[in-house]
C-alpha cells in the first residue's frame, strides 16, 4: 500500500520536473511573453476608446465594420441555430426546475406518473440546462467570438450545423431515457452511455472548426479568450468520454470518477466558456483593454492547475482516502489565486467605467455575471473547508452555491453575449429594448430571492442535522419557508427566460428592417 502511494508521489515529482523543464523551454522561446498591447487584439484599428453596444445604437449610427461584417456573416447560421437550441433547452429546463422546486413543498402534486417524480424531474432540469442551454449557447458564443479574435472567418461553418442537429437529438433521447427511468445513475452522468456516444460525436463537429479557424488566424497572438475556449474544447471531450466509459469502476472508485468529472464540467468546461466570454465582451463593449494582460496568464494557468483537482471536496467525510480529500481541499483554497487574477482584470475595468453599465444592458449582464463568478468561487473555496463543509454538505446550501456558479455567473454572461451578438449577426435590432431591461430585473431579483432562500435555509438545515438533540424531522421543517421562497424566485427567473425566448424568436423572424450598417454595405453593389 505504502509502495503504491510512494510510487504515486514519485510520479507527481517527475511530472513537476517535466513541467518545470517545459516552462523553462517556453520562456526561452518567448512562448510566454505577453504584453499589454496584446490586449488590444479584440479591437480593429481605431475602434478602441469608444463604447460598442449594438443594442444601444440608433438608426443613424454607422457603427459597423466591413471586416467583421464578413466574419459575422460566415458564422451566422451555426451561431443562431445553436443559440436558438440553447434557449429552447433553457425554457424547457427552467420549467422542469420549477416543477422540481414546487414538488419539495407540494409533495403530492403530480405524483401519478413515474416520469414526473421528483428524482426524474430534477435530473431532467440539470441535464437540460447544463448540456442544453449552457453548453450549446456557450459553444455558439465561442463559434462567434473565436473568428473575431483571430480576425478571420470561421472555417468549415457547416460542420457545427451537423453538430447542433446531432447534439439536440442525442440530448432529447437522453431526456426521454431519464424520464423513463433509464439512467446511468450518477449525478451529472445520468444520460445513458449509449446516448452519450451521440453527444461525443456531435462535439467533434464543434471542436474541429474552431481549431482549424485558430490555426488559420490572421493575428499572431491568441487573445486570452482563445486560451480558455481552446483549452475548454480540449478538456471537455476528454473528460466526457473517459467518465462515460462503462463497466470500468464500481463502488467508491466510481464515486471519485463521478466527482472528478462533475466538478471538472464546471471548472474545465463551463468556467472557461464563461470567463473567456467575459474576457471578450467586457473590454469590447467598454472600448478599453483589460486591466493587466499579463495577470490573465496567471489566472488561466492557475485555473487549469488548481481547478482540475478540486472534485473530491464533494466527498469530504466520506469513504474515500483522507489524502485525496485533503488534496482537493488544498486545491480548492488555491483557487483564490486564479480567481483573484481574473477579478482584478475584469472588475477593475468595470469599476473604472461604471457609466457604461447605464448605457449597455449586455454589459450589465456580463459584468454582473463576472462579479458573481468571483463570489461563487470564493464561496466554493470556503465551502470546501472541513468545518464549513460539515454544516453545508448534504443541504440545500450546496444547491444555492451551484446556481450561483451555473446561473449567476455563466447564465448571466451568456445572456449578455446573446444580446450583443444577435444584432451583429443578423444585422437587425432587438425589437423591444424594454424587454431586455425587464428580463434583466426579473432574473436578477428572482435569483437574489432564490439564492438567499437556499443559503439561509441550507445553513439552518445543516445546523439542525448536526444537533443530535433535534430529531431529523426538524431539519425538514426548518427549510419549508425557504423552499417556498425558492419557488417564488425560480418563477421570476423562469418568467424572465420566457420573455427572453419570445424576444429572441421575434428578433430573428422579424421582417428585415436592416441594420444601418447593412445598407452602407449594399450601396456599392447597387451603384455598380
Amino acid at each position: 500500500m505504502s509502495l503504491t502511494i510512494g510510487l504515486l508521489l514519485a510520479l507527481s515529482f517527475v511530472v513537476s520536473l517535466l513541467a518545470l523543464a517545459f516552462l523553462i523551454w517556453a520562456i526561452n522561446n518567448n512562448q510566454l511573453r505577453i504584453e499589454q498591447r496584446h490586449a488590444y487584439t479584440i479591437f480593429t484599428e481605431g475602434e478602441a476608446g469608444q463604447v460598442d453596444d449594438p443594442t444601444a445604437e440608433r438608426e443613424d449610427d454607422h457603427h459597423f465594420d466591413i471586416e467583421r461584417a464578413g466574419i459575422d456573416r460566415v458564422s451566422r447560421l451555426p451561431v443562431l441555430i445553436l443559440v436558438a437550441s440553447g434557449i429552447g433547452w433553457l425554457v424547457l429546463g427552467s420549467l422542469f426546475g420549477l416543477v422540481a422546486s414546487l414538488k419539495l413543498h407540494w409533495p403530492d402534486w403530480l405524483d401519478a406518473q413515474a416520469a414526473l417524480t421528483f428524482g426524474r424531474v430534477r435530473t431532467l432540469h440539470l441535464n437540460m440546462v447544463i448540456y442544453g442551454w449552457a453548453s450549446m449557447t456557450g459553444i455558439a458564443v465561442a463559434l462567434w467570438v473565436t473568428p473575431r479574435i483571430f480576425h478571420t472567418p470561421l472555417r468549415l461553418p457547416r460542420l457545427p450545423l451537423i453538430g447542433a442537429a446531432l447534439w439536440n437529438m442525442a440530448l432529447l433521447a437522453g431526456a426521454i431515457a431519464i424520464a423513463n427511468g433509464w439512467t446511468d445513475g450518477e449525478e451529472w452522468l445520468e444520460i445513458p452511455w449509449q446516448v452519450d456516444i451521440g453527444l461525443a460525436t456531435a462535439g467533434v463537429f464543434f471542436v474541429v472548426p474552431i481549431i482549424v479557424t485558430a490555426a488559420r488566424r490572421e493575428v499572431h497572438h491568441i487573445y486570452v479568450t482563445g486560451w480558455y475556449y481552446l483549452a475548454g474544447l480540449c478538456w471537455f471531450p476528454v473528460l466526457f468520454v473517459i467518465a462515460n466509459i462503462p463497466y470500468i469502476h464500481s463502488g467508491v472508485q466510481e464515486a471519485t470518477v463521478n466527482w472528478w468529472f462533475a466538478h471538472n464540467v464546471l471548472g474545465l468546461w463551463l468556467t472557461p466558456l464563461g470567463v473567456g466570454t467575459a474576457y471578450y465582451f467586457i473590454p469590447k463593449i467598454i472600448g478599453k483593454p483589460i486591466y493587466s494582460y499579463s495577470l490573465s496568464l496567471l489566472g488561466f494557468w492557475g485555473l487549469a492547475l488548481f481547478y482540475s483537482q478540486v472534485g473530491i471536496h464533494h466527498l469530504i467525510g466520506g469513504p474515500v482516502p483522507t489524502w485525496v480529500v485533503t488534496l482537493s481541499i488544498v486545491h480548492s483554497m488555491m483557487m483564490f489565486i486564479p480567481v483573484l487574477a481574473v477579478a482584478v482584470n475584469q472588475h477593475v475595468l468595470v469599476a473604472r467605467n461604471l457609466w457604461a453599465l447605464r448605457e449597455s444592458i449586455p454589459l450589465r449582464f456580463v459584468a454582473l455575471g463576472a462579479l458573481l463568478y468571483t463570489l461563487a468561487s470564493f464561496q466554493g473555496s470556503i465551502e470546501a473547508l472541513r468545518t464549513v463543509n460539515s454544516v453545508t454538505h448534504f443541504t440545500h446550501y450546496t444547491v444555492g452555491h451551484a446556481h450561483l456558479g451555473a446561473y449567476g455567473f455563466l447564465t448571466l454572461v451568456l445572456f449578455g453575449a446573446v444580446y450583443y451578438l444577435v444584432p451583429r449577426s443578423t444585422g437587425r435590432q432587438w425589437p423591444w429594448p424594454a424587454a431586455m431591461a425587464a428580463h434583466f430585473w426579473l432574473v436578477v431579483v428572482g435569483f437574489l430571492v432564490y439564492f438567499a432562500a437556499l443559503t439561509i435555509g441550507g445553513v439552518l438545515q445543516g445546523l439542525a442535522m448536526l444537533d443530535a438533540t433535534r430529531p431529523f424531522a426538524e431539519s425538514v421543517r426548518v427549510t419549508m419557508p425557504y423552499l417556498q421562497a425558492r419557488s417564488v424566485g425560480g418563477s421570476l427567473m423562469a418568467l424572465g427566460h420566457l420573455l427572453f425566448a419570445v424576444h429572441f424568436v421575434v428578433a430573428v423572424l422579424q421582417r428585415p428592417a436592416p441594420h444601418p450598417g447593412a445598407t452602407v454595405l449594399s450601396k456599392p453593389a447597387v451603384a455598380a
Partner: protein, 206 residues
C-alpha cells in the same frame, strides 16, 4: 501564448495529472482492500430493487454514507457507523449521494426492518410522517377491488385508503423494499479500512 499545440498539450497534461491524482491513485488504494468482512452480495431481487432505487432517483434526496462520530451525530440518529470504501464493492452504479433532504439510508434495513412499514411509506409517506416532503410512489402500486392470492396489501390509515377496494404492491415496489430491507452495513469495519479520517484526532479509534 501564441501557439495552439503547446497550449493544448499542456492543458491535457494538466488534466492527465489531475486524473492520476483523483482517479487512478485512489483506485489503486481502494482496490487493494478486501470487501468488509460479512458484506454479502445483493440477491437477484435486491438487485432489481436497486435498479428501481436508481431509476426513481432516490439518490437526489438520500445519501448512503454515514459520517464519523467525530464529524456528525449520524450514528446517534441510527444511521450506522462511518462508512468505509470496502462497504461498496458490490455497488454499481454507486449511490453515495450528496443530499440529505431525507435521512441517510446506508443501514435503513436494520433501522426499519418491516416490509409493511416501507410499503405504506412508499405509497404515501404522509400516512406515517405528517412532516415528510418525500413524494409518494402510487405508480408502484395498484388498486384492486379485492386482493388476489399472493397479493401484498398495503395497510393504510383511513384518510389515505381508497374509497373502495385495496392497494396492492406491484413487483417493482416489493423489489425496492427488499433492497431497502437488505441495506445493512453494520458489520464492524477492519481497522485499516479506507475512509476520510480528516475529522478524527490523531490515533483515535474509529
Amino acid at each position: 501564448m501564441n501557439r495552439i499545440l503547446p497550449l493544448g498539450v499542456i492543458a491535457l497534461g494538466i488534466l492527465a495529472f489531475a486524473t492520476l491524482m483523483l482517479v487512478i491513485g485512489p483506485a489503486i488504494q481502494i482496490k487493494s482492500m478486501a470487501p468488509t468482512p460479512g458484506l454479502a452480495n445483493y440477491s437477484a431481487q435486491e438487485l432489481r430493487g436497486r435498479e428501481q432505487y436508481v431509476a426513481q432517483g432516490c439518490v437526489y434526496c438520500h445519501s448512503q454514507q454515514p459520517r464519523s462520530a467525530d464529524q456528525a451525530p449520524d450514528a446517534e440518529r441510527g444511521w450506522g457507523r462511518a462508512a468505509v470504501a470496502s462497504d461498496y464493492v458490490y455497488d454499481r452504479p454507486h449511490q453515495l449521494g450528496t443530499m440529505r433532504t431525507g435521512p441517510d439510508l446506508f443501514n435503513v434495513g436494520t433501522r426499519l426492518p418491516s416490509r409493511d412499514w416501507h410499503l405504506t411509506h412508499l405509497y404515501q409517506p404522509r400516512a406515517i410522517f405528517a412532516w415528510s416532503i418525500m413524494p409518494g410512489y402510487p405508480y408502484l402500486f395498484e388498486r384492486k377491488s379485492r386482493a388476489g392470492p399472493g397479493d401484498v396489501v398495503v395497510s393504510l390509515p383511513a384518510e389515505h385508503r381508497p374509497a373502495e377496494g385495496v392497494i396492492v404492491a406491484k413487483p417493482a415496489a416489493l423489489d425496492l423494499v427488499a433492497y431497502l430491507q437488505g441495506l445493512d452495513h453494520t458489520n464492524p469495519a477492519p481497522a485499516r479500512a479506507v475512509r476520510d479520517d480528516g475529522y478524527s484526532e490523531r490515533g483515535e479509534p474509529r
